[in-house]
């Protein structure tokens, strides 16, 4: 059972009441108790039912959003490491809607220690047989599957892109997301089609050589805010 000032301040901000004290029961909050202290002698108790998962800092790992176009989106806020969403120990990031300067929500951020953990996980995964020994065609199949899932979820992805970045929703859906899917499928196709070279007839016939094309290893990728998911080629805009 913990109380967290950071969560309190977020509840305070979102609920526009002050001051509050929040008591958590277990990891999953079944009942959120908020009581306002209007004076030293009186208290008001408000009961609210709120099902959400909280991490040790009190920040929700999943939040429910309603976008400007009415779409309801359940969004994780944590760090995606080792196929799980976990809490980050960096300073949270407030995501702003540039159309009206309002905060959409806060997301968790990685500290140096979190990056160390992610690297450790990625290094282990690089050598693990589940990835290392996967056939190149099966690697491609995973990318094709990812592209199909992106296609199924493109409305939610485009909505978040437009809401957070400010680009027109129509462009995000019809251009950016189309390019995301096309790009993933394009590289899915390449997975089993690159290879090295062989050289024969070297050293009076006593030498044979070949090249292997190997993955570099653990890759850090830092992406920009102008095209978070994918750069689109703006031609479709012009009709």
């Amino acid at each position: 059972m913990r109380s967290g000032p950071s969560f309190s301040s977020q509840v305070m901000e979102r609920a526009c009441i002050a001051p509050v004290r929040v008591i958590h029961f277990y990891k999953y909050v079944v009942i959120l108790i908020i009581y306002c202290e209007t004076s030293q002698r009186s208290k008001e108790v408000l009961w609210s039912l709120n099902f959400c998962r909280l991490n040790h800092t009190g920040m929700a790992l999943t939040i429910q959003l309603t976008a400007p176009n009415g779409l309801k989106i359940s969004l994780p806020t944590g760090l995606f490491i080792n196929n799980k969403f976990v809490s980050g120990s960096g300073k949270p990031i407030a995501s702003i809607n540039p159309s009206n300067r309002q905060v959409i929500c806060a997301v968790q951020s990685a500290s140096v220690e979190d990056i160390d953990h992610a690297v450790e996980v990625a290094r282990h995964a690089f050598y693990d047989s589940s990835w290392r020994c996967l056939s190149s065609s099966d690697r491609g199949a995973l990318l094709f599957k990812l592209a199909d899932l992106i296609n199924e979820e493109k409305v939610s992805l485009a909505t978040l892109e437009a809401w957070n970045n400010g680009k027109p929703y129509t462009s995000a859906l019809e251009e950016d997301l189309s390019e995301v899917i096309a790009t993933i499928r394009y590289y899915a196709g390449w997975a089993d089609k690159f290879q090295g070279q062989t050289m024969t007839g070297l050293g009076d016939g006593l030498k044979f050589a070949y090249t292997l094309r190997e993955p570099v290893g653990v890759c850090g990728q830092i992406i920009p805010w102008n095209y978070p998911l994918c750069k689109c080629f703006c031609v479709q805009v012009f009709t």
Partner: protein
């Protein structure tokens, strides 16, 4: 850019730690929910939001990361490159640009004006390859400016991103909004002519909305000619000859993209060969293809993304020599 980076990295068998920009953390979080569903083994794809100065730096400096791929400003890329030197990381960078678009007198003027509009006004002008310097041959200069202005006024409807009529939404953040407005003021102070736009959108003050702006009579030594603005702001300049146009186009620290408008096949290919740029569009702008290498030279980056060339960024070559009987 997540797709441009994840695609080749995963196709070639790497594992990744991807950090979105702190201004736009949301869509990538949703994408992350699909990674496990797709069946990728744990740890192959890791997506971590973070502040650039903390998480970005930690990634660039990390001694157990083998490669860094960065898309962003040239200024930040220089820091990344320095930090990456700690363990001689493999590095690819896709950075800034101030790409020239050349309109010769034999061009289809209507098409040149339309593509020039797309080239700078798409995505709120926030495009690395934006053809933001428009060089127009003197004989068609005013006619081009007039048509470019008309197309901009008619097409660049500024408004709510969720309104279907909107062509241009807000700039992404307060910092970018202030930056673009600063450059608009610099352009006015430097003496460029405002053909349209010229500041904040008066009717949309609730957000970071800027009027699409065209500056004419820009000089090569002006800051709005040399520096990347990253907003819906075009700098239009006249030229006399092909030689002068090439000299003006190459007068830049950047070399990301470029565009040439002419109906002469000889001139098109000749100019394409003479421009210092990683990419050239002949009679278009911004219509690249995922099948072709994408990237710049000079201070616009190192390496290429997309196409087969994009695989090279994530592969290393090992030479294996087999002795078939040589004894010593």
């Amino acid at each position: 850019m997540a797709a441009w980076k994840l695609g080749p990295a995963l196709a070639t068998g790497n594992t990744v730690i991807l950090k979105p920009a702190e201004q736009t953390p949301l869509s990538i979080l949703y994408l992350a929910t699909l990674i496990h569903k797709a069946g990728f083994p744990p740890g192959v794809v890791n997506i971590v939001n973070g502040w650039g100065a903390v998480a970005g730096r930690a990634i660039a400096e990390h001694l157990d990361i083998d490669k860094i791929a960065f898309t962003g400003s040239t200024a930040t890329a220089k820091h990344i490159m320095k930090a990456a030197s700690a363990n001689l990381k493999n590095i690819t960078l896709e950075t800034g640009g101030k790409s020239p678009l050349l309109v010769f007198e034999d061009a289809d003027l209507e098409q040149a004006a339309r593509w020039a509009h797309i080239g700078i006004m798409c995505n709120q002008g926030q495009i690395c390859t934006a053809t933001s310097r428009i060089l127009v041959q003197k004989s068609i200069y005013e006619a081009f400016l007039d048509r470019f202005r008309q197309i901009t006024v008619e097409t660049s409807i500024v408004g709510d991103p969720f309104n279907e009529e909107t062509f241009q939404g807000p700039q992404v953040s307060e910092a970018q909004f202030d930056r673009v407005l600063d450059y608009i003021n610099i352009g006015k102070t430097e003496g460029a002519r405002v053909v349209t736009g010229g500041g904040q959108h008066e009717d949309l003050t609730q957000g970071y909305f800027i009027k699409p702006t065209i500056f004419a009579d820009v000089k090569q030594d002006m800051r709005i000619y040399q520096e990347e603005i990253f907003g819906p702001v075009a700098a239009v300049v006249p030229f006399k000859t092909e030689q002068e146009a090439l000299q003006m186009a190459n007068n830049s620290i950047y070399g990301l993209a470029s565009a040439v408008f002419t109906q002469s096949i000889e001139r098109a290919h000749r100019v394409a060969a003479g421009i210092q740029s990683g990419m050239v569009w002949i009679n278009s702008s911004q219509d690249a293809s995922i099948h072709m290498p994408f990237g710049g030279i000079k201070q616009s980056g190192i390496g290429r993304e997309l196409g087969e060339a994009g695989l090279d960024a994530y592969l290393q070559t090992k030479s294996v020599h087999v002795n078939l009987g040589m004894k010593i």
